[in-house]
Subunit: 197 residues, 2 copies
DNA sequence: GTCTATATATTGATAGAC
DNA sequence: GTCTATCAATATATAGAC
């Protein structure tokens, strides 16, 4: 789990895993058919750990549903800071590394994302009466995951927390506008692009 | 370039590259010191190709600076559709695959991101008078890159264009709110989180 | 500049004793 | 269930003829 997170799947050799675990190859292959099979188990474990490791710690820090979303993002910020911008999101890393040839792994990655989004959507649903009636909370949850993953990518690429903070800041601004829009007396805004010149 | 894009760096062997190029290893190593050196050349090439391959085609389709931003995003949408959600952004892929051990590559990746953001920022600067005075256009450009990369990741992970469209739709909504805010007569919105209960 | 041939190390995985 | 020993394939890279 650690190696796949820090080095990636392809860049991690079975030999490294064995050495770190202090076991021999016979033991590993007694439990796992292959390296890819081990990856599937790791991804399954991430699914199981989502609430205990990611969601619950954030939700405990705050009660307000909207602030809980930003508390989850703050968790990823802590991870970036702690690892000096080397870590990020293990699922996002694998999502971009693994392609068609690892079909099962990609399915489990998608399931991880779905779980994350569902947690965020619970928050949005709780705050539904503060959001504009037109807000698509499913899409909004997708957007939040996207901003997190993209922000983490930029912070890792630049070795700085600034990109992540910039992205979360813009997301915060978006939410402030959405929450204000709810109480606005003006007409709803058009959702499409303006007419071309 | 193609292999690193489609398969990733670690998953691509030098032997594959040689076969596809129709040359032998002596030729490759005559020009490039190592596989990593070839990667650096590829990343340099991406920097050179940014405007001709990504920005200019989008800018030609439309004149309005804001719409030009969404035209760039539309280009990535086309890429996703054309490759059946397998491709995405070659820089983003490498950004998450390569870690500390490829320091030079990571610098070139960051340079690629900077170039992309500068193109977007040019658009935002052109549209400065339509945006709120308080809008940080540098951060906004970072946000747009982040949404693109995150949206591409989600669409690849789910094998569907829906996530990308959802993210771009939310970004569009954000812009509509920003553009409307510019003309609003109300007080500026607070940028920070609301007080905790 | 490109070729062939090859070096050396490491890859994921297996067999079979214990 | 864990061990040792080892497989066959592949990895990146090099040497030296042409």
């Amino acid at each position: 789990m650690e190696f796949f997170y820090v080095q990636g799947y392809e860049a991690t050799s079975v030999a490294e895993i064995l050495k770190q675990a202090g076991v021999n190859s016979g033991s590993l292959y007694y439990f796992f058919e292959s390296k890819e099979n081990l990856l599937l188990a790791v991804l399954e474990r991430y699914k199981e750990m989502l609430w205990s490791a990611v969601i619950d710690p954030a939700f405990q820090r705050t009660q307000d549903p909207i602030e809980r979303i930003f508390a989850v993002l703050e968790g990823y910020r802590q991870g970036l800071m702690f690892t000096h911008f080397t870590a990020g999101c293990p699922i996002g890393n694998l999502a971009l590394e693994l392609r068609e040839e690892h079909q099962e792994a990609r399915e489990k990655i998608a399931e991880n994302f779905v779980g994350w989004r569902e947690a965020i959507r619970k928050c949005l649903d709780e705050a539904a009466d503060r959001l504009p009636a037109s807000a698509d909370r499913e899409q909004l949850a997708m957007f939040i995951l996207t901003v997190m993953e993209g922000g983490v990518m930029q912070s890792r690429a630049h070795g700085s927390i600034a990109p992540f903070d910039a992205c979360v800041g813009q997301l915060r601004n978006y939410f402030n506008l959405l929450l204000a829009q709810r109480h606005s007396t003006g007409p709803p805004l058009s959702a499409g692009p303006p007419a071309q010149d």
